[in-house]
């Protein structure tokens, strides 16, 4: 049974921040509602005030300015997956958004909600991490910026204070010589919570080698994690499309994740599967610039 709640629909950011200040930890933001309404139904929402952000149009955008991509917190997953800007300058995020839920969920759910929700299984999070995104956080006191890798403190937990709101994510636009991608393992092709997911960023140098790599895994640790040792392995790869070599580099991921057993899968399987997930996604991406020999 859904408990009785006070409900406010904020008209703009200013009003949202005012309501956040007024109700503090009594309030819960709702953006697309794809997580909050499920939790309400399950009796898992302790707050008794809902502040609805879905009418705050100023937070719904994707734009590129001076080499920086800005994504508004209220941009939906459907917005992200269809965005030409992201397809060109932040492909991993568009791909990740396109794998969230099904069309109905993507039409409602927002990237700000996915980040603020801080689920270790959130699909957009590894993509934002490898894109080196920064989270803009607003409150009545002003705005602060937190690198996304520092944003999460545990499953469902983040640095957000009660009166704060995620307003946008921004990251350097990727360009030529930069490859990003995303892979997801779930129970089926759509409408599935990730059993594991992965995003990667590779910068390809003049000699076709990977000179910089960022790899992040979701659903295999209390928060989404960077896999630094695996990144190093990828930077040592010869610039030749070799399945065995790529798979060998991905193997390191086994040591960098700390999953748990749950209803979706066991920890042991997750450790094994993330290796394959990374290897196939990376192979597909590198196939566009490397050739078999």
């Amino acid at each position: 049974m859904i408990k009785e709640l006070e409900y406010y629909a904020a008209r703009d950011l200013k009003e949202a921040l005012k309501l956040a200040e007024q109700y503090g930890s009594r309030k819960r933001f709702l953006s697309g509602g794809t997580d909050v309404t499920v939790r309400l139904k399950e009796g898992l929402v302790k707050e008794d005030v809902i502040v609805d952000l879905s009418h705050v149009a100023e937070l719904r955008f994707v734009r590129e300015e001076s080499g920086i991509v800005h994504v508004g917190a209220c941009a939906t997953h459907a917005d992200l997956s269809a965005s030409p800007i992201l397809q060109q300058h932040g492909c991993a995020l568009a791909l990740a958004a396109s794998r969230v839920g099904g069309p109905q969920i993507r039409n409602m759910g927002t990237v700000g909600g996915n980040v603020a929700n801080a689920s270790p299984a959130g699909d957009t999070i590894p993509a934002l991490i490898v894109l080196d995104a920064v989270v803009s956080i607003a409150s009545h006191k002003g705005i602060r910026e937190v690198p996304i890798i520092d944003f999460f403190t545990g499953p469902g937990r983040s640095v957000l204070a009660a009166e704060e709101l995620v307003t946008e994510l921004h990251f350097p636009a990727t360009g030529s010589g930069e490859l990003t991608g995303f892979g997801k393992l779930g129970a089926r092709q759509a409408m599935t919570i990730s059993t594991a997911n992965v995003a990667f960023y590779f910068r390809i140098g003049d000699n076709h080698r990977i000179v910089e790599a960022r790899i992040a895994f979701g659903s295999v640790a209390p928060t989404v994690v960077r896999a630094h040792k695996t990144e190093q392995m990828f930077c040592q790869l010869p610039p030749v499309l070799s399945w065995d070599a790529i798979r060998g580099a991905a193997q390191m991921a086994w040591k960098e994740v700390a999953p748990i057993d749950d209803l979706r899968a066991t920890a042991v399987y997750r450790k094994e599967a993330v290796v394959g997930l990374l290897a196939e996604a990376a192979y597909e991406a590198l196939a566009s610039c490397w050739h078999e020999r």
Partner: protein
């Protein structure tokens, strides 16, 4: 028969369903209506020491709270054995058991009141494994013990046959607890009438049986109960047994007000019927040329807490445990065993998918060991009409095992399987396999299997077809309309249907067991014949044209001894006070004797399908995608091709779910997959491409040649998927569903 034309029309119910205007029983509301809440058990197995309703009753808006003492008739229901209490008085046996019922002015108050019902339990140990439950010291779910049914069928000498075999395949197989997940959950409205009678509006698969079960619960004459059960928002067997009807009937009779309930998906998944998980132990013996010599099968059926149709399901599984292959020596043994694992009942396929997964897997393994092709080994063993089945009865009518096998062999998918199996990704493997299945139709021996229909010539010259069989999505009402229109020689738009209600339609048995189209074909043909007799009689009474004259349908009317009359003219003359009515009744042919010790067996008429499946396995993650399925299906005669293809699409999806995704996980009696984010069914992204091969080998005992096809279309695809995973990767899948992790572990047996 062949001169009857079936006009290919869109579904008669398409517009209402597509536009959302169709009112299901759960959409109905009545003035002054109350809302019910079922107070469910807190434990999977416990004694109920006391139930205190005082706090719940005191809540504002609560109209009544009922406990076991308030059941006015017999406190139990069950199609075969009424061992499931409507309200538990002394003991609960699964998490969905009802300990009290609340009726309140709003659903919210009803739910709040339910939380105020105080139940004192004495917790009992849980028994959650059917093999454990058979041990003498296992906790007893019912006083009489945990064996719901034990059946043993033997033919020849199975041990001798296995000794003589060149290869014996011996394995244990396990199958999932599949949920029906009908779009419409268990729901309905019970309405007490001024004369003391009750109207029950609840989607179900057999209104006339619900009527009797409700009469037994309420302790009143069945004719004081009217049941309206059509249309249904999905059944698949999950609405064959009663669900919520008993509870809301008691509340309505007690309060004198209409009482409604619509279960949430979570409550449906915890409390509702499921498919029985089976453990199937097999030893199958073959000669070196692939000839089957013996099959020894032992099935353990996880019954859950109450009987429902678990006995007949076990027996149908045992009937099919050696399929319709030529096996001289068989031993089919089964145990239906009570546990605290929810409740299991009827589900499309009715035990057949469970055993054929085992048998067809053994078949392919034998073929591989013997160096035979999967088609060759099956073709060597399929039975023909006139031969004796593995359980000892002679097959008397329409056996199409060979036809569907030949057809699937000729499918594009099978013929070009090496092309289909190509992939350029090093981590992907593709495989193709096939399987075939018979599916016994109808209720079997020793159970009257009958059906009636009325065709009314209405005042305006159009027709009303009255028949009990409900539409729960199969498309049968479209088929009934076409069959009636074809016989009457009128456009299908002139026939309307009244179905699934005890008032105004005719008992035609349950909409189960692949029996609707076949039963209806004969009942409608009989009613049509009787309408001709009635027309002749009416003309004779007026014009003395002769009572034995024959009237034949032609071009929107009938040729009669008084000349051609359109139906409008006949209606004008004879249907003004009450419609001229053709009544038709049909009794299924059955075997003349029962297989000893196996109630209901054998079946007389079977459906047949063969399916080939193409899967792609990701060897890095174990993910398996079903890419394409070719289905060869014998319809007897196709009435509506779109509906046949629709049944194939849906059956394949449900079979795919069984094979790859679906399982209700229960740990120590507690359901862990309580909604559709954890109970995984295929989405539209997961379902395969289809190749349809429709055969028409007329069923001789149907007036129109038709066979039921609703169940068999989901059966062969299940072993075909498992065997295609083997073809792709070399591993044998012996437990379904083949989830990514399960497949991964098979591929990497070193992973602990």
């Amino acid at each position: 028969m062949d001169d009857i034309h079936f006009e290919q029309i869109a579904r008669v119910d398409a517009q209402g369903k597509a536009c959302g205007t169709t009112a299901y029983m759960s959409d109905l509301s009545f003035p002054g209506m109350l809302y019910a809440w079922f107070v469910r058990s807190k434990y999977p197995h416990a004694l109920v020491k006391s139930v205190d309703i005082s706090k719940a009753m005191a809540l504002d808006g609560v109209v009544t709270v009922l406990t076991a003492a308030d059941v006015t008739g017999f406190n139990g229901f069950g199609i075969v054995n009424p061992d499931m209490p409507v309200i538990c008085g002394d003991k609960v046996r699964y998490m969905g058991d009802t300990v009290a019922l609340v009726a309140a002015t709003t659903e919210r108050i009803a739910e709040q009141a339910a939380a105020l019902v105080e139940v004192e339990y004495e917790v009992l140990p849980v028994v959650d494994d059917p093999i454990e439950a058979l041990k003498p010291d296992a906790p007893k779910v019912h006083d009489k013990g945990n064996v719901c049914l034990h059946t043993l069928i033997t033919k020849g000498d199975v041990e001798q046959g296995l000794r003589e075999a060149d290869v014996v395949i011996e394995h244990e197989y396990r199958t999932p607890r599949q949920a029906h997940t009908a779009l419409e959950t268990e729901s309905g409205v019970a309405v007490p009438e001024a004369d003391g009678s009750l109207s029950m509006y609840a989607g179900s698969q057999y209104a006339f049986r619900d009527q009797l079960q409700l009469a037994r619960i309420l302790g009143i004459n069945p004719r004081m109960i009217r049941v309206y059960s059509n249309p249904v928002g999905g059944g698949f067997g999950g609405k064959d047994e009663l669900t919520i009807q008993g509870g809301i009937a008691l509340l309505a009779m007690k309060t004198g007000k209409p009482v409604k309930v619509v279960l949430s998906r979570e409550e449906s998944l915890v409390s509702g019927w499921k498919r029985h998980p089976f453990i199937v132990r097999t030893r199958t013996g073959f000669k070196s040329d692939g000839t089957m010599l013996a099959n020894d099968v032992t099935c353990y059926e996880d019954k859950g807490a109450y009987s429902s149709l678990g006995g007949p399901i076990l027996n149908l599984a045992l009937e099919h445990a050696s399929s319709l292959y030529r096996v001289p020596n068989t031993r089919h043994e089964g145990w239906a065993v009570f546990t605290n694992n929810g409740i299991c009942g009827a589900f499309r396929g009715f035990g057949v998918p469970q055993v054929l997964f085992a048998l067809e897997s053994n078949m392919d393994e034998a073929a591989e060991k013997l160096g035979l092709d999967p088609v060759t080994i099956r073709r060597k063993n399929v039975l023909y009409q006139g031969e004796v089945s593995p359980i000892g009865h002679t097959l008397r009518t329409g056996v199409s095992m060979d036809l569907v096998l030949d057809a699937v062999e000729k499918s594009d998918l099978w013929q070009h399987r090496e092309e289909y199996k190509k992939t350029d990704k090093p981590w992907l493997r593709r495989g193709v396999a096939l399987s075939l299945a018979p599916q016994g139709a109808g209720l079997g021996v020793g159970i009257p299997d009958y059906g009636g229909a009325y065709i009314d010539l209405d005042r305006d010259g159009n027709f009303t077809l009255r028949i009990g069989l409900v539409e729960y999505g199969q498309g049968t009402h479209t088929g009934f309309t076409q069959m009636a229109a074809g016989l009457l020689h009128v456009d299908p738009s002139r026939v309307r249907i009244v179905a699934g209600q005890t008032e105004g339609s005719v008992d035609a048995g349950p909409a189960t067991a692949s029996r609707s189209m076949y039963t209806a074909s004969n009942a409608i043909a009989a009613a049509f014949h009787d309408l001709g007799v009635k027309v002749a009689g009416a003309l004779d009474a007026k014009y003395h044209t002769g009572a034995d004259a024959v009237c034949e349908a032609k071009d929107g009317g009938m040729t009669t001894p008084a000349g051609f009359r359109t139906y409008e003219e006949l209606a004008q003359e004879f249907s003004q006070e009450s419609p001229l009515r053709g009544e038709g009744y049909f009794v299924w042919p059955t075997a003349d004797r029962e297989i000893p010790g196996a109630a209901g067996l054998p079946h007389w008429i079977y459906s047949f399908a063969a399916q080939a499946a193409l899967v792609e396995v990701n060897t890095l993650t174990g993910e398996t995608h079903l890419l394409k399925v070719a289905t060869a299906l014998d319809t007897g005669r196709t009435v509506n091709l779109q509906q046949v293809e629709g049944q194939i699409d849906g059956g394949v999806a449900q079979g795919e779910g069984f094979a790859l995704f679906e399982d209700t996980l229960i740990a120590k009696g507690q359901v862990r997959t309580k909604n559709l984010s954890t109970y995984i069914i295929p989405t539209v992204q997961d379902v395969p491409e289809h190749e349809y091969i429709i055969l028409e080998n007329p069923e001789g005992t149907s007036a129109l040649g038709v066979r039921g096809i609703g169940e068999v279309v989901m059966v062969p695809v299940i072993p075909a998927v498992a065997l295609a995973i083997h073809d792709a990767t070399g591993v044998w899948v012996r437990q379904l569903p083949a989830t990514p992790e399960r497949v991964y572990r098979l591929l990497h047996p070193d992973v602990q």
